[in-house]
Symmetry: D3
Subunit: 221 residues, 6 copies
């Protein structure tokens, strides 16, 4: 029997976890159990590098408690806190939603745009894209100016996402957009309908890659 793919939300907001869980629905038909977790020790939302760094120890500890039942992990925070530490800790597949979203985007358009939550998120993203070696394919990264908590307000969020997405598409030349926060999961469909371009919900992208990895037995490395 296959173990569970744990999609680990490293913040403490159960509403964010619920949104991620809903986004997993289409992938559940593949037959691998997918369970989304919340990190009680985390902040309500991760909005800077200090917050991201501080969740890593409890996240690693939480993963250890799940290891015996797990077939793989997704770290569900755009910023991939603890991604490489998790890979040091376990032989199971570990995907980060930022990394997986970018790799998926690179198969869906020549240049990707990112919808960030806050202006301060952008330098973190750019560091990550540089580390991934794919900066030349980033058309732009623009911020909503909304914190994680504010993303729960659908009307304001969607309006702003359309504005930012339109600029990424029309001014920056993005062919595909990445939603730069797990807290945006519920908005993929509306954004895709409105902007008429592929929109990547990063938790979905990471979970899809993780399921492939689990099926193909790329573990132990």
């Amino acid at each position: 029997m296959t173990g569970t793919l744990y999609v680990m939300n490293p913040n403490s907001s159960v509403s964010v976890t619920a949104g991620i869980d809903d986004a997993m629905a289409p992938l559940r038909k593949f037959g691998v159990p997918i369970s989304c977790t919340t990190l009680a020790e985390g902040p309500p939302g991760i909005e800077n590098q200090k917050q991201a760094d501080l969740v890593v120890p409890p996240l690693l500890a939480q993963a250890l408690t799940l290891e015996s039942k797990a077939s793989g992990y997704v770290i569900a925070c755009f910023g991939d806190p603890g991604l490489h530490a998790m890979r040091d800790q376990t032989d199971l597949p570990v995907l980060g939603i930022q990394e997986a979203a970018v790799m998926t985007a690179l198969t869906m358009g020549q240049r990707f745009g990112v919808i960030a939550i806050l202006p301060g998120s952008i330098p973190r993203h750019l560091r990550a894209f540089g580390a991934m070696g794919v900066l030349g394919r980033c058309a732009g990264d623009r911020a909503l100016g909304l914190g994680v908590a504010e993303l729960a307000n659908p009307d304001a969020t969607v309006t702003r996402m359309i504005e930012v997405g339109t600029r990424l598409r029309d001014e920056d030349g993005a062919d595909v957009l990445i939603m730069g926060c797990a807290g945006m999961a519920q908005y993929r469909n509306v954004l895709q309908d409105r902007l008429q371009m592929p929109i990547i919900e990063p938790c979905q992208a990471a979970a899809a890659m993780a399921l492939g990895r689990i099926a193909l037995n790329w573990e132990g490395f």
Copy 2:
């Protein structure tokens, strides 16, 4: 009912198609039919750019005959002939095995190495990695010095793959290896066992990404 994922071998070697088909086994549990095709008009193996370019028209034509039953396509030649033309032709997901293998590799190690068939393959690969914008993460690309037909000889092929893979790992610093030809599909497990590092069979990588894309409804773009 979900349509079929067509994994299209653009050469005419049924033995290569059979190897690809075997490699699909672990992914069939996801519930999407996967069918591997052979291109009668193709050469026995694609070993230069002229051969690659010449298969594109019949490959596009073949895909048109499958469209009504399809949920997506994988172009199963390392070189991704006709990848972007196929994306012009259909709204269904189209993955190339080279592109998907690289994107998968980038989540499994910092630098990837490629096992090419012939020295003349390497400039083609490097052009593609440049177009993908990921050249900085390629540790090396080394050739077996064996043509597609010769890959059917297991003993000689495995011996040579181990030699080349060892150099990519130990001299070039690759953390993960990509098998640079669909005709190598049958050798993934032995190579992974012997080299003790993740080995990517590119048809698997592409099919896994395609299945995720199909499930997540990223079509129409």
Copy 3:
């Protein structure tokens, strides 16, 4: 006696071929015969990757019929369809107008801008510039929003080229512009006069490089 340099237009528009032929005038004084061909099997204009891929087989066949009289070839479509396949087919020099225009531009300004025909052309260009490894020197690539056929209308085309060229120069920081379609050949002088910056007509750039290559006997490789 020197063979002929064939400048091969892979579309079927004789007016485009005529424009290219006119652009060759200044290079005819070098003493090498230059002959411009049209591809009857091609579409009136090449505007996407599928069209580009489909012209390759008849273009290669056409080149074979010219080989005994040829000293070299230029592929006169911005997108360089079949460039590397042609290099597999013949030992004579083969230049692509996109590649040669970029290499020429890099000697005439620090950053080049590209005037594309349609928005959908831009991702194709960027893939090519990535494959060439020169993306960091591209200031911008902006589309006229005009198809190949529409380029035959001088008034509308020139007006729009000035608008797009001005943005590439003033907003994007281009020091030199490349006209991104062989169908624009007739407009080089007016654009150069109006924008007061170097404008590269890519068929000229490629033919000039080809003539040098022929003179210097860099064939056979």
Copy 4:
């Protein structure tokens, strides 16, 4: 009165801290107090990403206790754990020894080489150099195959450093070398004498930059 520059060793080895402290001697003439700390909660040496991530929370907490007396901080582990989190926490200058060593190296030679402790360190370094956007200037990164504790054995360490440094210089083309671990501080002079090329001890590089930053009042950002 100027506050103290704290050079914070995030491992628990007082001998490593002592080596760093000795390396600070030439910089003490600048008149800013320099104090080197040890992190009791840290491991004896940091050799993988998990260890690096786990020291960040106690390191941040330690810095908070020093803040009122501080004029700046250096994070003295090659890997810069917590660097950006520290920058979120304080307005004082914060330098990482990896980042500062690289920036210093780029003024001392066209290509830098890195002497790593273990093979597993190299992917971490490459991620960091990618995030810094300077990967094109890295000639090579080679491992001693010695853990942090083993660096305390001078004879074996120096012999191995000479071997690795020689390869970086002669095979990889490095013009300047960076010692890739704070635990190597004591060996800079011998290595520089033996290899006759500039050797960067990263704690020195970072402290020197920090002192400049403090003097020039680049704080508060």
Copy 5:
């Protein structure tokens, strides 16, 4: 006794030299004598590559006359004329203000912006950033449209610097700004106050790095 750090202004404007000298004040507490020189043979300001190239021979000659009293050199023209030639001429540390400003900026923000004097300066800067291998971290380079002499007019200069700096910060996404001319030295504080972001005066950046280099005995290479 430590020799003098010579900060060499390669233009003939004593007012520019005076501005540089003032900017050195905070670094004089480190105890190394700092002396700023003017180049009588230079033009009043260096505004193109020809002017930059022509100052190199007299600048090298001037440095030879200072060598016996020197501990190091800074070339105080943004463009670093003669930087590598000086490194060929002497074993003492030689820093260029452009190179040092960039390396310092890379520790203070993810992307740097540059305030240039004239539009024609920008291609020169981009060539240099390309040679440094850091182009991917340049957010933008925008010109004041003021020559070196005009920088002496504080009101017009500050107004224009604020405008240009604001665009670099808000449109281009720069996290840190570099003043792209030694003649701007007097404006660092006002610019930093007004834009509320780190502003790098490049002579300071270079002198600070030079002082560290002198203290750490990285000479002779």
Copy 6:
């Protein structure tokens, strides 16, 4: 009547100039007079950056004396001393042999190798390739260990060029080689015959591009 293309050797060795002049033979059939000059004020060979910088003022002065008879210039030293200064001085086309050789190489193979004279030449080359933005296409740069004067000895030079070229081709993966010194001009044919790969003599590459530029009237910019 067309003016003369001046191929300016910035060193004082008439034998080097004679070798360049011989290399021009195949290009003289184009009908533009080509005249090769020697710089009396130059050193016998340019082997470091200081020497390169010092020839720029007399080279610029020499060009001024030729301006009225000129149709264009080639700067015939691999290192392109004064290239951009010359472009500031004249509206005529100015090509540098390094730049033109690289741009030509990029149309003849995916990765180029460079045969340098001395190890100290390599960092200069890499700075230039970085400024050109093409570093990702350089397979390697290896030195003969021979100064400019020693190149006049054919036997030793050819033997060593074959050795170095073989390593660039077989170990580094170069598809095309650039001879990294104007003093190597006489050896192109023998090297091409022996290595069976395209060899670029950079003075030829630059003169060919200059002739095209002159014919196409790309001057005045």
